[in-house]
């Protein structure tokens, strides 16, 4: 039976869970020495549109996710490990991590 007490308990549990989750944002880009052919094509198209001042276009991707556990230092270390093992190919890509 749903009592007032059990509903409150559930709300508290959800709030607790929200408090202990952190948001992670990973940006992955090709390394400086790797030719970004998509970036080059986009740069050419932007020049074609009259934006001649554009240079050094790099195309990357953003990966966002939630992470349990309240310790930001551990979260950041975990996200870096995820980047090294799956999210980025460090032979050709670099990455930036934001945890908060």
């Amino acid at each position: 039976m749903r009592t007032r007490q059990s509903i409150d308990d559930k709300r508290w549990a959800i709030d607790d869970e929200r408090r202990t989750r952190v948001k992670a944002k990973v940006e992955v880009f090709l390394k400086a020495g790797v030719l970004d052919v998509q970036g080059k094509a986009i740069e050419g198209a932007l020049h074609g549109l009259g934006f001649g001042e554009v240079s050094s276009v790099r195309v990357g991707k953003t990966i966002e996710f939630d992470l349990g556990g309240a310790d930001p230092a551990k979260a950041e270390a975990d996200v870096k490990a995820m980047c090294d093992r799956l999210l980025a190919n460090t032979v050709i890509e670099g990455y930036r991590v934001e945890v908060g």
Binding site: G33, V34, V37, Q38, A41, L86, L87, N89, V91
Partner: protein, 220 residues
């Protein structure tokens, strides 16, 4: 002789590989699902076929490299068994760190699908011995991300150690130093971007792919 072809979700050359091997050698071929954590015993060759495993999500081959079967493939390679990754299979081997380098988007951003002329750079390996003195092969490519990349030191090492087995005569995708196929330092893991599995009899543009399967399944 016994071979296995690994089937990932999105593989589309798995049946071609089976046909190619069974047509050109005496080997029996078993199909292995990517979720299997064990390979059949006594394999002389393991093939990672071409296709678009996992829809090329994240990066070509990145998800497949994490499949349960890849742990078994890595272990088999450690034992010295022959492994060939063709096209997407080459990408998977790089993503699994079983081969150096990576495959980038083609230099002109175009998917390229055509016959290519290859030099067999090193014909003294278990994958190329049947190419003998001809040192030439025609195979077909079909790739959008076949542009082999590695840093200069790695490229120097690959060339110096005879690990470059195949080179394009007319580079179709921008690959560093025209590289079309490489082996690992131990010489038992081959990644090749052109398709020997699509060129194993004269009606398929060329029969030159047959010698690759015949080399590895004769020397095993």
């Amino acid at each position: 002789m016994k071979a296995a072809v690994v089937v990932f979700p999105g593989s589309n050359c798995d049946r071609d590989c089976k046909s190619a091997i069974e047509t050109t050698t005496d080997a029996k071929v078993e199909m292995v699902w990517h979720q299997d954590s064990e390979l059949p015993p006594g394999l002389d060759l393991i093939v990672l076929p071409g296709g678009f495993s996992y829809g090329d999500y994240l990066r070509c081959g990145a998800m497949a490299a994490q499949s349960p079967v890849m742990r078994a493939v890595a272990q088999a390679a450690d034992e010295g068994r022959a492994v060939v990754g063709i096209c997407n299979g080459f990408q998977i081997l790089c993503e699994a760190l079983m081969l150096p380098g990576a495959l980038l988007r083609n230099a002109d951003l175009k998917y390229v699908c055509k016959a290519v002329e290859l030099d067999v750079v090193n014909a003294q390996t278990r994958f190329t011995s049947r190419y003998g003195e001809t040192r030439r092969a025609t195979m077909t490519v079909g790739n959008g991300e076949g542009n082999f990349f590695a840093d200069e030191d790695t490229l120097d090492r690959l060339e110096g150690e005879g690990q470059v087995l195949f080179r394009y005569r007319n580079n179709p995708n921008g690959s560093s130093r025209d590289i079309a196929g490489i082996v690992n330092a131990k010489g038992n893991v081959l990644g090749i971007m052109p398709h020997p599995d699509r060129t194993f009899e004269p009606d398929l543009v060329s029969a030159d792919g047959a010698a690759l399967f015949q080399s590895v399944l004769a020397s095993a």
